[in-house]
Symmetry: D2
Subunit: 212 residues, 4 copies
């Protein structure tokens, strides 16, 4: 847990400026798949409530015609693409194309026109066409939901920023299997990488900005 004295250091050194909403919104849902919703597999903590709260955000994003992208971890059936990430977390190799654990949860199932990227690394941008797709769709600010906060969400947010998008972590729509890493990553992301907003605050800010 960061202490008040820590916050003061970051404030004094000029971290944590607000990015604000610029350009078109896009929406990325990171790894909301059955295997990460299931505490017996890779889930637990506050992931289930994050999925539940993301339902309404996804519905709003669709109504507002934001480009929507989803990521899944998918390894080859024969394990030919086993990599360092899988060496560190061997169970990930079970997330093959047709394994139920690698399927996006029903509540957030993609619809036609939404991008689904398969990846074998934490970031949804690494080794995928996600950045190119968001660029071609004119996205300036990227709302991010998903799991886990300290893993694939964080890596994706860092890459979103590096690729030139303004990330907004939707605080109540990201989850992690343990709360200390969840909170520590939200702190870091807010200081160095992204805006962090509650779902309803984000939607209100978008509505305010886009009001005629």
């Amino acid at each position: 847990m960061t202490h008040d004295a820590d916050h003061e250091v970051y404030r004094r050194q000029g971290f944590g400026a607000e990015l604000g909403l610029h350009g078109n919104m896009g929406f990325l849902l990171v790894d909301f798949v059955n295997g990460f919703a299931d505490p017996a597999k890779f889930g637990g903590g506050n992931i289930a409530p994050a999925i539940e709260r993301s339902r309404d955000l996804l519905a709003q994003a669709r109504a507002l015609r934001w480009p929507v992208a989803h990521s899944r971890i998918v390894f080859a059936d024969d394990g030919a693409d086993a990599n360092v990430f899988a060496a560190k977390v061997p169970g990930l190799l079970a997330l093959t194309e047709h394994a139920p654990a690698s399927a996006i949860v029903d509540a957030l199932a993609p619809v036609a026109g939404e991008l689904v990227v398969r990846k074998t690394t934490p970031s949804a941008f690494f080794g995928t066409a996600l950045a190119a797709w968001l660029t071609a769709h004119g996205v300036g600010t990227l709302a991010i939901a998903g799991c886990t906060t300290s893993g694939c969400v964080r890596a994706s947010a860092v890459d979103a920023m590096s690729h030139g998008f303004r990330p907004v972590i939707v605080e109540d729509c990201v989850g992690d299997r343990a709360q200390a890493p969840h909170r520590a990553s939200l702190f870091d992301l807010r200081q160095k990488c992204a805006d962090v907003m509650m779902r309803d605050a984000l939607l209100a800010a978008v509505r305010r900005r886009d009001a005629p």
Copy 2:
């Protein structure tokens, strides 16, 4: 601070396997520049001791002929390359090519043949030739020192893993301006991305492996 119950979740779900040393070693020093050594700028915490302990590791790496790479954050003099990272942390724009704050600390100054990459993002891999250079030099396992643990070191370690290298975070050679983020990132990195070893343990393991 992660709790014992958290550790148990990670263990049960199969995180944190040891990567081990494979192939040739390489050494990356992340952002050990004057501005991050200086508590009045971006420094503080345990960064200074990490620099001190990295001196001997760098000397050993050179003696063992590991490919050595350094990273610096460098923005253009006219700020033309200001990006989202700089919007979040505006003071970074002062780290221009000839600003003393962007120069690598004297104690770890690069020598001929060592790669120095300039970057405008947390990861030393993003938008640089680092991965290609390590690949061309046949590096399999990448020892990482630098600062900050929760910022550029972590982003670089995640990318090192994604690019196919086995990262080893040298625990007493990485530092951060605040200790809670430092410890939280070491926990996450060890679970999902890298081996984490003390300097002397790493050197002993390398010597053991390479003994005739």
Copy 3:
């Protein structure tokens, strides 16, 4: 030289559709540096006239407030970043930061606010922040001038397309040291990657599109 029968194959298989102008324009000048303007170094052919014709295009781009980016090949003074490209073309290692040969030609010298990327590979996108910068500046269509058509221009155009930008090769503003490779690459680019337009036709199309 491609023959009529070849064109017919491409037409029948559905290559060469027109991309058109979408979104904001950006302008990339590839490697218009002294060393590539000089027939005694890496220049020759129609590179000099391409530079001459790019002057007016650059002036127009600035007047229209397009984001403008330039690329240079720059290797480290100590050759530490020598790579496979330099193994293939050893003379490139002479293009160090302060070598006159690596400086952008006076006629097209960058002004404040224009991005200058240093690279050690053919593509101006590879290992640079160019894609992120164009994305952050909201570029949709990227006009490309520079040299050489069959080398760095072509590699940059392929990457521009892959990164989600619509490339327009400005035919009379790109040049090559030999005309057969120049013409062959224009053919390939038009079929599979980019629109190819003469400078005045491009400017007229932009004016037509943006007329009130």
Copy 4:
């Protein structure tokens, strides 16, 4: 067709040095799928003979235990990932996961342990885990077969070089729908990017190098 005078320019300017075989060999087969083997779709020219001659090279590569990777162009069933490449060549959108046209030809079907990357751009490296996989497998020199020479083979070879691998284009194992672009790209690749060798010469050179 390049003329003798052109060759002389390249020679005088120092292009076309030989890379040679360094480190472990790997083998990449680019887009040898039914749709590119079929002159009624995207095939024709010398693609069929290139496939035929690649059979033996693939058998040898397997016997020598080279890491082997294949690429396929695959777009989503709903076209959600339609991009600039597909805007230029709309027929590519028919190459969906289960379309026979996107399946690797029977003669070169992947076996367990071989990487298969799906891509939506010319380069087999762009937006895929290919570079990371080759790095993790310790590849230094990458033999490249596939089609088309002037399209996906060329883009992949340029990226292979940029990622730090030494590309060898296997001249009689790459093919194109038209011969002028095929020959022009072989010329460019040999001057600026890769060694170009006939299959039997490559295998003989490898055997010579690795002889006890």
